[in-house]
Amino acid sequence: MLLPDHQYVTTNSLKECLRLLAESREKAMVVGGGTDVIFNMRLKLFQPDVAVSIRKLDELQQVEELTNGGLRIGAGARLADLAEHPAINDRYPAFAESVRAVASTHIRNMATLGGNICLHTRCAYTNNSEEWRKGLNSCFKTEGKICHVIQTSSRCLAINNADTPLALIILGAVLTLQSAGGSREVPIAEFYTNDGMDNTVLRPDELLTHITIPPVSDRTAFLKLAPRQGMDFATVAVAARCDGTGEKVSKVSIVVGSISTNPIILHEPSRIVSEQGLGDEAISAAVDSIRDELGPLTNLFSRASYKRQMANVLVRRVLVALRES
């Protein structure tokens, strides 16, 4: 019943935390709310030597209202608090929606925004108990050399199943990554890679400390479809943003998640509705155009044909939601 052996360390200052991460190299793992770290330790998918808790770092739990109308959110802020934060609901309703879409109330009472953004990829084959996995050869995630999803793949095809990054991408959020050596700012749109084993540009010695969202007056929407509405990872989720009013738009962005290793920014449907507006016909044409950009649907917690159809449905709904907002 006990977790695998490891050392647990609470850090009391950011500096101490960064020093510890620098010293322990790849052997340490940051614990925000721990809801995913402990889950993966139970499955023996994560076996860190050191678990570094950031829960006592008050500076990572604040939500700061910027003078330009934006917000700067500490990576250690709890999802439950963000879901009810007045400024977040007021300024970024689609982001607030994406926060409420994560897991259950119980989990949001523990989980952090940083943990959701840095959530590891998930796989229908590998995210099972060790006993279950014994029926298969090892894959990239379990020290093997293959991916069960597509055996000929040279990389792990596990999917990014997190909800909040989609809303943060369309809002143009920027992540602050700090290490003992310094700090860098990375737009969240450039944070994810297409390698299921190492799906972000975060280095092992770095900590995500803040998420800055610029002021946004455009219309936005977030929608998620999951097997169970109350608590489940997404089958498909989508976030979208546009300017203008009614059917009139000139700039549209759409991001689809839970389909592949990184969130997919859709270009063709955005181009179509940017040119033709948000009328029914243009929306249908936009939906028809997403197939190529989604690419092959690989890592399936549900049937590929269903998932593809639901991606179409959600893209249509999200564009209608923009039109009506």
């Binding site: 006990l2 050392q7 647990y8 609470t10 614990v31 809801t35 889950f39 119980h106 989990i107």
Partner: protein, 165 residues
Amino acid sequence: MAKHMMTLTVNGDVYELMVSDNQTLLDVIRDTIRLKGTKRGCTTGACGVCCVNNAKGEAVLSCITHALEWDGESITTIEGLEANGELDAIQKAFIEFGAVQCGFCTPGVIMSAKAIVNKYPEPTEEQMNAGLAGVLCRCTGHVKVKEAVRQDHELREAARHAAAK
């Protein structure tokens, strides 16, 4: 495994405990303090039967959090609801409405229900659904549970009036 000293307040009682790095809060509640009301189900955050309330009266899952994370904190488990030999209103409501069958999920469901009424004394349908979504009952379902949660407020009011008289 190295052990560390920690302080945890459970149901108002302060415990000084030796806890190892790889114990979860659930392990400490059940195996160290030996309060067996809180149940061990999936141990991966999916079923909710290990639910306890934190110091703010919110529902949290004790199976997916390091015990040492809770050093200096205060929690309430199912054993902490009764006071002076009398059950809490929410517990009475569960009995009255038959919101219990095999009982395995009951501590987790009651602590989730308690968290709902702590925050919303007269919860809406949506607030109840959101508060109960993370805890599963394979016998009773959530219908009778919600009847009990709705009743909690009335029982509490009745008790308040009785005390005022």
